[in-house]
């Protein structure tokens, strides 16, 4: 399933229906028609069957990548079966209504990919493109939106999205729930990406085909299915955060001013900052200006558990008309309001444990620090860290600094905290 709400997907479908009468995309439709006819038998519906009820619990799409029945799909499509193999099995359904069992052989949780294998599979497979298409090239997504049957969606290839840390192709076309795991092809019928997510209004994302090639060649080299999926996922998460934080620590962190303070600027191109203040509010008795930065790289773990995000936030406060007691009263309320930006449930993580303490900077500023931590139950040595710092020695001004790191090791978490405290300063 594409990670979006179904209701909004339905609205977008109606929108496309209207647009498809426009003559400007008539030429595309001819190619779409040919590709659909040529490859319809190579796009499968992937179904997750609940063993107790015998009915499908989730559906997505997938496609064979070799003659021996190795099928690519999204990790989030088969996640239920990967987490609870005793409760779910995986099946495919072809365009001609043939079904068969599938066995999970490998996953790439970072890139939301999975490889499943069919026994005695006979049929067409798809070629993976070896070159990235140019930006602006028409491409065609295939899949089973909302279980309506195989559908082709023409769109435009817009290159690797620079605003995300995880490589994702920006596809201008509408992907809908159920199309996840299906292929997006160029005119020649070569797969250029795997359907994965949508941000609504024709903004959709594909996993670059190069990631699938890596996963397939790893599997060929190994020659056998992964036995311990949990261990495999844990290793992938650990390696991904190691690579991400090494690259973050490798360069200088720039500061930008907020009020009288210096705070951390956009750390990398994939971290986006937004800001706001209450300056335009005539009735406001105090000034509050904030800067919130966030990477949108959610790694899908389960429908209630995401990891991989990085977010930080700064709030500058000035008392103005408030006296010191009133000001600290408000400041305290604000300080108690922080929560981690990623979702997680009891089966995924421990409860948060927090440490509190005062620190004094070399410049003389005294801060209250809150360091909260929860561990991942299935993936040892990975944590979510929530850090909160507030200045406490000025009667009329205050700076709150906060960050959440999801899925980080102890070393990287502590190193990030150290550097964060150094860079964000108010002298």
């Amino acid at each position: 399933m594409i990670k979006n709400r179904e209701a909004s997907a339905m609205v977008r479908m109606a929108f496309i229906f209207i647009l498809s009468w426009s003559s400007s995309i008539c030429a595309q439709n001819d190619i779409a028609r040919d590709l659909f006819a040529d490859y319809k038998s190579a796009v499968l519906q992937i179904r997750i069957i609940d063993l107790t009820s015998g009915s499908k619990s989730a559906i997505g799409s997938g496609f064979p990548v070799n003659e021996s029945g190795l099928i690519a799909t999204n990790y989030h499509v088969i996640q239920l079966a990967a987490s609870e193999p005793q409760q779910y099995r995986i099946e495919y359904l072809t365009e001609t209504n043939k079904t068969g069992k599938l066995r999970l052989v490998d996953v790439d949780v970072i890139n939301d990919l999975a490889l499943v294998e069919a026994v005695d599979f006979e049929g067409q497979f798809m070629q993976l493109a070896t070159q990235e298409p140019e930006i602006g090239m028409p491409v065609y997504a295939l899949g089973n939106p909302l279980d309506l049957g195989l559908t082709v969606v023409p769109g435009t290839y817009n290159g690797i999205n620079r605003a995300s840390y995880l490589p994702r192709v920006h596809f201008t076309g509408s992907l809908n729930p159920g199309m996840s795991g299906g292929p997006t092809m160029d005119r020649q019928g070569q797969v250029v990406g795997i359907n994965v997510a949508t941000a609504g209004n024709q903004v959709s994302f594909l996993v670059p085909v190069s990631r699938l090639q890596t996963l397939v060649s790893d599997y060929r080299a190994r020659g056998m299915a992964i036995e311990n999926m949990q261990l495999r996922i844990g290793e992938q998460l650990m390696a991904e955060q190691q690579e991400k934080f090494s690259s973050l620590f490798a360069h200088n962190w720039q500061a930008i001013s907020l009020g009288e303070a210096q705070v951390l600027d956009e750390l990398a191109p994939f971290v986006k900052c937004w800001g706001g203040s209450n300056s335009s509010d005539d009735k406001a008795q105090f000034l509050s200006a904030d800067r919130s930065c966030r990477s949108e790289d959610n790694i899908y773990m389960t429908s209630t558990f995401a990891t991989g995000i990085l977010e930080y936030q700064f709030i500058w406060l000035e008392a103005n008309q408030l006296n010191s007691w009133q000001f600290y009263n408000y400041y305290e309320r604000l300080f108690g309001d922080f929560a981690p930006g990623n979702r997680a449930g009891e089966e995924n993580v421990t409860r948060f444990q927090c440490d509190h303490g005062f620190t004094r900077q070399f410049g003389g500023r005294q801060n209250k620090n809150v360091f909260c931590l929860r561990a991942y139950k299935d993936y040892p040595k990975l944590y979510d860290i929530l850090f909160l710092q507030g200045s406490v020695d000025d009667k009329e001004n205050a700076l709150i600094s906060h960050f959440t790191l999801a899925g980080v090791s102890k070393e990287n978490g502590l190193a990030f905290t150290r550097k964060f405290m150094e860079v964000s300063q108010w002298q």
């Binding site: 010191s324 948060f352 440490d355 620190t359 004094r360 005294q366 929860r374």
Partner: protein, 318 residues
């Protein structure tokens, strides 16, 4: 020989007594008796007492319901000595001689004397003004908009009204039980407790802010409020009733216990529940209230290690 006949009420307490200085005393519902009782189960002429040595001989005058002996200290069954208890119909009587020994006079409990002193305008008025000022201050401090009296007055008036209703309740109870209302005294007690509560929670939160120790956490806060409630109830009861100090304290403790149990039952559902949000102490206070000196960031981070061990251990307990 004079005889004193006590009519006993609930719990063996004296409700009424008659003293007759004669060797023969008649008891019954009829007006011609020496002692006239109103219990409808008592016959018109029920019985007669005749002095005999240290005690009395009782003659039943053919009464309908007869006589039941509850207690008789005498060794001779036919003679009733001082302290004997009998029951006629539904009425319990005790026969006492003038020379019957008395318990020592009890000194007033210190609390009882001191709480009576509170029943004065000169105590009540300053307390009222202080509580009013404290409430006003706390409303003022938590106001983030431009100050408007219309926003503050409902808060303060409703709090004062609650205290007033409490005082009315206790003074009505005192009026009924002890024929003493002690309205100002009860009012002052509740005001005093509310001041104590405000001061205590302010002190604890300031301590918890500075030392972020579990020693000043929620548990201690609740313990403090329950102790204040216990003291207040006990003092209210002292003014309003004649309970013995043991009965009073155990009654108050039982009440506070019930409050604690009700509170815990209400929260029981959330015990051990998972929360995706961190529970951290968000207390911040004006710089004037901060007395501790901060560590360096390095020192703070060096102490984080046990936290990792704690969550690692929790992660293993699936």
């Amino acid at each position: 020989m004079a005889v004193i006949i006590e009519v006993l009420g609930w719990g063996g307490k004296r409700r009424q007594y008659f003293k007759v200085d004669a060797d023969q005393v008649s008891i019954g519902r009829g007006y011609d008796n020496d002692i006239v009782l109103s219990d409808p189960h008592i016959s018109e002429n029920h019985l007669r007492l005749n002095a005999c040595g240290d005690g009395w001989v009782i003659t039943d005058l053919d009464s309908l319901n007869g006589l039941q002996v509850i207690k008789n200290p005498s060794t001779d069954e036919s003679i009733f000595t001082s302290g004997a208890e009998i029951k006629l119909g539904h009425t319990k009587l005790r026969l006492v001689a003038e020379s019957h020994p008395l318990e020592d006079t009890k000194m007033l409990h210190r609390l009882e004397r001191d709480t009576s002193k509170l029943n004065r305008l000169s105590v009540w008025l300053p307390l009222l003004v202080t509580v009013f000022a404290t409430q006003l201050l706390s409303v003022y401090v938590s106001t983030l908009e431009e100050w408007e009296w219309k926003n503050a007055i409902p808060v303060i008036v409703s709090a004062q009204l609650a205290i007033f209703v409490g005082a009315i309740f206790w003074s009505l109870l005192g009026r009924l039980v002890r024929h003493e209302a002690h309205f100002l005294g009860q009012y002052s007690l509740i005001l005093l407790a509310s001041l104590l509560f405000t001061g205590c929670s302010w002190l604890l939160s300031t301590l918890s802010y500075n030392f972020s120790s579990a020693l000043f956490g929620d548990m201690v806060q609740q313990l403090a409020s329950m102790s204040i409630l216990l003291l207040l109830l006990s003092a209210n009861l002292t003014l309003a009733t004649n309970l013995s100090s043991r009965a009073r304290w155990s009654g108050c403790a039982a009440f506070v216990g019930v409050v604690v149990i009700i509170g815990s039952v209400g929260q029981m559902k959330s015990w051990g529940e998972f929360s995706p949000f961190p529970q951290y102490s968000s207390t911040l206070a004006a710089p004037a209230l901060l007395v501790v000196e901060g560590q360096t960031s390095e020192e703070f981070l060096a102490n984080i290690d046990p936290l990792f061990q704690l969550v690692d251990k929790a992660a293993l307990e699936k």
